[in-house]
């Protein structure tokens, strides 16, 4: 395939998200300016100017009218997708790390980092249909996990919130009461910080990637470990294909290897694994730096990767991809 290279960001990419219909691709990077691209040919549509810090995460509503972004400048902003205007800003006491719209786009779950004595929190805010009615009260606030919470997402039917972070434990919380329902144990779970989490299209299972060089597939309701995919490098980004039984995992380079001349300089690739058989299908090379973000188009016919090199690479699969037999 001929990937399309998009160099709109000056700094490393942090997150990629496709719109529900798969025609828009939103990219977040450390350069303060989330950008939206057309997902078919990579042409840039616009940028959202307003943040003063690295943008860590974003989510887009199902009708592609609202974009929510979480940034290190201690704010979460709500934007109009079409015009780029800021509709509302939620302010916090610490950098905001992860944002996720609920099914129905009426609620958004936000995580904030531990900062200056404040512990990390998971907060739920209500999103009003009319921006004029928007308030910044939290519907729910959860405190408890030690360390940074890298990602928190809504569970199936908005009944639960699933969080994962630096303490390498995945937790399932009740979305109404905030009670802890389940958490993984140290033996079967990850051993190091969990960098990324991706829900399946139907939210029945999810994939987590960790610095312990593995990615694990879990059931969303029972939190049982279903599969483990072994990588040879710390995992920074994961994604589940909505079309085939594939998962893609992207990683980086261990800090200790960066300067040693007799180690691999790193040809950074996104590795495809068979979701059920756990075998490696193959790798897609090309990035000049560790891969920090991965996303599948909802139609499963293309995917994009964002790297430390500031490039977004948009790949449309060749026909051969769809007939891969293991």
């Amino acid at each position: 395939m001929r990937p399309i290279l998009m160099k709109g960001h000056e700094r490393p990419l942090t997150f990629l998200k496709y719109s529900r219909e798969g025609d828009l691709l939103f990219s977040c990077a450390k350069d303060h300016t989330p950008t939206v691209w057309f997902a078919d040919d990579g042409e840039r549509l616009g940028t959202y100017r307003g943040h003063n810090g690295a943008v860590w995460c974003c989510d887009v509503s199902r009708d592609s009218t609202r974009l929510v972004t979480g940034s290190a400048d201690q704010s979460v902003k709500l934007w109009d997708v079409q015009t780029g205007t800021q509709l509302y800003t939620f302010n916090f006491n610490s950098p905001a790390r992860s944002v996720d719209f609920s099914v129905g786009d009426k609620l958004v779950v936000i995580t904030t980092d531990p900062f200056m004595g404040n512990p990390s929190t998971i907060q739920v805010k209500r999103i009003a249909r009319d921006p004029a009615d928007q308030t910044s009260d939290s519907v729910l606030t959860i405190k408890g996990p030690q360390g940074r919470i890298n990602r928190a997402v809504w569970g199936p039917l908005n009944k639960t919130i699933i969080s994962a972070g630096e303490d390498s434990i995945i937790r399932i919380w009740d979305a109404e009461t905030g009670n802890l329902l389940k958490e993984t144990d140290k033996e079967s779970g990850h051993q190091k910080t969990i960098s990324s989490l991706c829900m399946s299209a139907d939210k029945s299972h999810f994939l987590t990637g960790s610095a312990d060089k593995s990615a694990k597939l879990w059931d969303s309701r029972s939190l049982t470990l279903l599969k483990t995919y072994q990588m040879d490098r710390p995992v920074n980004a994961v994604a589940i294909s909505p079309l085939l039984d594939h998962v893609v995992i992207g990683g980086g380079q261990e800090a200790v290897n960066v300067t040693m001349t007799d180690r691999r300089a790193g040809k950074f690739e996104a590795k495809f694994y068979h979701k059920i058989l756990q075998d490696e299908i193959g790798g897609v090379k090309g990035h000049f730096g560790p891969i920090n973000a991965l996303a599948f188009n909802p139609d499963g016919r293309s995917f994009s990767s964002g790297g430390e090199d500031g490039y977004v690479r948009l790949h449309h699969f060749d026909p051969e991809y769809f007939s891969i037999r293991m």
Partner: protein
Amino acid sequence: MAAVESARPQAAKLRWGELEEDDAGDLDFLLPPRVVEGPDENGIKKTTEYRFDEDGNKVKVTTTTRVRKLGKARVSKKAKERRNWAKFGDAVHEDVGSRLTMVSTEEILLERPRAPGTKEEPSVSEGLGPVQPGAVLMVCRTCGKKGDHWTSKCPYKDLAQPPETFVERPSTADAASAAPGGAGRSAYVPPSMRGGGERTGTEMSRRRNDENSVRVTNLSEDTREPDLLELFRTFGPVSRVYVAIDQKTGMSRGFGFVNFVHREDAERAINKLNGYGYDNLILRVEWATPRPN
């Protein structure tokens, strides 16, 4: 000038290079309008634009793009409408010359993992090419290139030396001691004797050659002399290639030297290949000695 910059501080990074144009903004009416020659039967689209550069010269920018139909996509009505949205934010002043979005020049494959034991084919460098079953593998001793020609038929008879002689050298990149001349190649010359033989005779030609020396840095670790030779050959005859190898691991130390016969070729190579993406690293190509003038 300054006023324009402060009005858009966040966009300044991308836009300062175009500030000069705004200076000559008054003269825009002198420029002919942009002409777009639509996609022809091969899908080639030519856009001709005019602008003023920093010195106030009128510059014609012709952008040739190939419009390829990637495939049919079932697009919803809303998605079709979104296609016609106006650009906003930093994309407002996007012109044809902005190279934010480019199709990769390399074909990238989903590389299936090899079964352990089989040799992995490197994706960009010295690929063997499909070998017919039953064919003899032709190896040339001179340039080390397999499958193309025998030693006696080597097109590089007088030029590049076999890589093995360079591996034995100490890894100081001493470009001064050139390879022995064509006649002496049949006898093995130990490294200690190598430079001594021609210090007197060929100093003149060597020095001239060193001014055509190009340093290449940021090579990937399995790059070798034949790869560099292959890459730089297109610019002209190459007299010598050298890649610094770490003796301990056998991997390239990330840099090498290429000596061209003609200076102009070296110049063109530098202009074309500096910043070129090669095997997932971006090459840095420059003159080996401080710019010989």
